[in-house]
């Protein structure tokens, strides 16, 4: 019997593939039979990801996603995509009375502009084939607030809003567009000094404990597979019960 969750024969572009959720997503896709095009900035870490993938039909493309030339080169290096997982992103807590234009720009550039522009370029160049699935990794902060998380939350909320619009525009081609919104997941993004205290205080707010990259990667596999072929324009929250309270 055909497995609707299989990614066999599908080519998937994953950004932020050198670390955390992106890296695990590449691994999980490869285990489900998919072919991965992994992109990130740090070549060594990208190679690390490559070495963890099942099968050997995968590809690495180094790209700084805020650089127009790199973005062009990346879009030129891929074809016949069946899916994209936009994982690249940055995070930092800044209280509202200390917001700076440079911080706002940096957050927007990486968390919002890069995934949206990359999607647009790939669509324009007809690199995304019909019946594909596009996933933006948003955040629980698109729905709920955390003190200091404003600039980050703004970019993640924007992804949720634009997802609905792009989903409508691409529905005729049966290309699906969705967000996945995790709460705290143990990755290098949060597992360092600045966030440690935040993690400790937030742990008890997650009834199922903190998440692991594989929890998000498995949902990406589902959203990329034909098993989710009637799901578009949504924001799938994966938060260990964080927002159930």
């Amino acid at each position: 019997m055909d497995n609707p969750f299989s990614l066999s024969g599908k080519a998937i572009l994953v950004t932020g593939a050198s670390s955390g959720i992106g890296r695990q997503t590449c691994i999980s896709i490869s285990k489900m039979g998919g072919r991965v095009i992994a992109t990130g900035r740090n070549e060594e870490r990208l190679n690390g990801t490559l070495s963890m993938l099942a099968g050997n039909d995968h590809k690495l493309v180094r790209a700084e996603l805020t650089d127009t030339n790199d973005m062009e080169a990346l879009s030129g290096a891929v074809q016949g995509l069946n899916g994209i997982v936009h994982c690249a992103g940055i995070g930092k807590y800044i209280p509202s009375k200390f917001y700076k234009k440079e911080d706002l720009r940096r957050f927007n550039e990486i968390n919002y502009e890069a995934p949206i522009l990359l999607t647009s370029i790939l669509l324009r160049k007809k690199k995304i084939i019909d019946n594909s699935s596009i996933i933006f990794i948003s955040s629980i902060m698109s729905e709920t607030g955390i003190t200091g998380g404003g600039l980050y939350a703004g970019t993640k909320g924007a992804l949720v809003a634009i997802t609905r619009v792009i989903a409508l525009e691409l529905a005729a081609k049966k290309i699906r567009v969705n967000c996945i919104s995790p709460a705290l997941v143990k990755t290098p993004l949060i597992d360092h000094d600045e966030f440690r205290k935040e993690m400790e205080t937030n742990l008890e707010k997650h009834p199922l404990g903190l998440g692991y990259p594989v929890d998000i990667a498995n949902c990406c596999v589902f959203m990329l597979s034909d098993a989710s072929k009637w799901i578009t324009g949504t924001n799938l929250i994966i938060d260990g019960g964080y927002s159930a309270q």
Binding site: I94, T147, E198, T201
Partner: protein, 77 residues
Amino acid sequence: MKKQEFIERLTDDLELEAGALNHEESMLKGLFTSLGVLIIIALCDEYFSKEITAENIKSITTVKSLMEMIGMENFHD
């Protein structure tokens, strides 16, 4: 920065009552809400381009210990 000016800015940024911090030995510990911690991190970056982490903040007790963490060379009487 003048020490007195720093104490005034700190009081203002943390939105404490005027005079709540009146000298270097004034206690800061206990005044930190989660927003307070972020404000301290942000003001150290803004005024002194000094990166301190939430972890570092745990060891701060008084205004003076915060100044020491920032570096006493940044302050004068």
